[in-house]
């Protein structure tokens, strides 16, 4: 396995020349994101951007399982929500130190991803979608009614401690956390592991015939996906300092799909972009919030119909134009 890329590399791909261009856009983004608190020190704007950072991690984590591996997850909010609740409940009721609560929150998302992932390994297509949806629905029912004594229902769990007080410090903390998470997910996705995940999405039987232990890789995708969503949920809990049923709603699960479709499924960067743009849009125009589910659905339908590859496919289109302009493109 280790020899695969190297052996293939000897024939030469000649793609190395693209490097400087590849880093230009992320660098510009990081530069602008770093100076935003200085040029626009609006607490409200920064708050919106912090939420955007959190949902970027959330969307990118959905993409590694569904976009890359092709395992349709309709209940991604369960990982985000469980982690957020565990942080809030342990921190406020058991009085565990925040640092430990966050660890427990992320660990709970990890454990949930094993618990959901294992039975899901044998399921394909619609069966998997229904199962993931049901798991998240159960969690929603527990939080909104059956275990309201623990979750506080709509009132939520209040008084969660925070790592650092203040919007600007939280802005930078969330920015760093987002950059690290997206970078890790992106690197995994572009590695040999990512290639294997894509092969499973394309044709699982064919991947098995190539000698790939698809069960192992699907479980790995579940674990990565659930854990990073858990990280996003844990950060959310300590930043908002209150956790309500919002974190396990169907709406939040649907948002992962809408974010990813807008950006471009199966690209990590696309869903991250989609989450960033849509979060700002929704928070910026607060009156839109009432129509959120409607708008999500409109977005999903229109992108599936008119731009199934999302914004990232526009980039590929531009690149192809460029190549053709340079006379490289074939017949």
């Amino acid at each position: 396995m280790r020899g695969m890329r190297q052996g293939m590399g000897q024939v030469g791909q000649g793609m190395g020349l693209m490097q400087p261009k590849k880093f230009a856009v992320p660098l510009v983004f990081v530069a602008i994101a770093t100076i935003i608190p200085f040029i626009a020190p609006s607490v409200y704007l920064l708050h919106v951007l912090i939420l955007a950072h959190i949902f970027v991690i959330y969307a990118a984590s959905w993409d590694i399982l569904t976009g890359y591996t092709g395992q349709l997850n309709l209940g991604h909010a369960m990982f985000f929500g469980l982690s957020a609740y565990v942080v809030a409940i342990t921190n406020t009721m058991l009085k565990t130190p925040l640092f430990l609560s966050v660890l427990m929150g992320v660990a709970s998302a990890f454990i949930l991803s094993v618990a959901v992932g294992l039975p899901c390994l044998r399921l394909r297509g619609p069966y998997l979608a229904i199962t993931t949806f049901s798991f998240s629905w159960v969690l929603f029912l527990l939080a909104s009614s059956a275990m309201i004594w623990l979750s506080g229902g709509e009132e939520g769990v209040r008084g969660v401690k925070t790592f650092i007080v203040g919007t600007i410090p939280n802005y930078y903390l969330s920015l760093v956390l987002m950059l690290i998470s997206v970078y890790i997910l992106y690197r995994i996705a572009s590695s040999e592991t990512g290639l294997i995940l894509k092969a499973i999405k394309e044709d699982e039987d064919a991947a098995m015939a190539c000698g790939i232990d698809t069960t192992r890789y699907k479980l790995l995708a579940f674990l990565m996906s659930g854990t990073f969503a858990g990280i996003a949920g844990a950060f959310y809990a300590q930043y908002m300092r209150i956790v309500t049923v919002d974190v396990v709603t169907l709406e939040l699960s649907a948002s992962a799909i809408a974010f990813s479709l807008v950006g471009g499924i199966g690209t990590i960067i696309g869903p991250a972009m989609g989450a960033y743009i849509l979060t700002i849009l929704f928070e910026g125009f607060a009156w839109l919030a009432d129509y959120r589910v409607l708008i999500y659905n409109l977005i999903i339908v229109s992108f599936v119909l008119f731009l199934p590859g999302g914004l990232m496919s526009l980039r590929d289109l531009l690149r192809r134009r460029e190549e053709e302009g340079g006379g490289v493109g074939g017949a």
């Binding site: 396995m1 052996g7 290639l195 894509k198 394309e202 039987d205 064919a206 098995m208 790939i212």
Partner: protein
């Protein structure tokens, strides 16, 4: 090398393969011919363990394999080039070939085999950065064979490599298969509807109909057999 013993396979209640026994010796080129629905694909899928048999046993070099998961079977050196190609269509030609070499660590060997595949099918080299889905049917078949070769298998199973291809492309594919047979030290088990293409190059062949082995013999013998002549060669 490969022994299939009294294999029976069901899809639910439907019987697809009934009491089939077959063996392939090291270095042989063995064909399974028969019409659509004869159970050829089911037989191949069961050998590579994607489907589990209801009864019977399969041995590869003395080791029982029908109880192993598919990726373990691949590890033993069996490459399955499936019917209708089953490529990763949204991945590039190069990435598909990389997947074929998934189990290997030997850099030099991989590079050598990649060169071999590109010599065998120069068009794949030209299109190496193209998505597999944009290739023509014949080119996709070449890629499927190339992917199987990248595993450097001991036993290469090809399931109906000519299906759905134009006559000229069929011939081109079978020329390549003949080359593989001559140049590579690989045992080949191939299924095919077009008996006239495959029988002349087969050491032995099985005729499979409605899930059963109807007859077996040397390739040349079967070509002279009256039943085969009438039913499969249209003579």
């Amino acid at each position: 090398m490969l022994q299939v013993k009294e294999l029976t396979v069901h899809y639910g209640k439907a019987l697809a393969v009934e009491n089939v026994s077959l063996d392939v010796k090291e270095g042989e080129f063995v064909a399974v011919i028969g019409p659509n629905g004869a159970g050829k694909t089911t037989l191949f899928k069961t050998i590579s363990s994607v489907i589990k048999p209801s009864s019977g046993e399969i041995y590869f070099e003395g080791k029982r394999i029908d109880t192993l998961p598919p990726h373990e079977v691949a590890k033993l050196g069996i490459a399955h080039c499936p019917e209708r190609r089953r490529l990763a269509y949204r991945m590039t030609v190069m990435e598909n070939l990389e997947l074929g070499a998934y189990l290997r660590d030997d850099r030099e060997g991989i590079a050598e085999d990649l060169n071999y595949v590109f010599e065998l099918f120069p068009i794949l080299k030209e299109r190496k950065n193209q998505k597999a889905g944009t290739l023509s049917g014949g080119e996709q078949q070449m890629l499927a064979i190339g992917r199987a070769l990248m595993a450097n298998p001991r036993l290469l199973m090809m399931d109906e490599p000519s299906v759905g291809l134009a006559p000229l492309m069929k011939e081109r594919i079978f020329e390549a298969i003949e080359e593989i047979k001559m140049e590579r030290k690989v045992t080949i088990l191939i299924s095919e509807q077009d008996a006239s293409l495959v029988l002349p190059m087969s050491d032995r062949a099985y005729v499979m109909e409605t899930g059963k082995i109807k007859m077996e013999g040397r390739g040349k013998e079967l070509m002279d057999n009256d039943y085969v002549k009438v039913t499969y060669l249209g003579l």
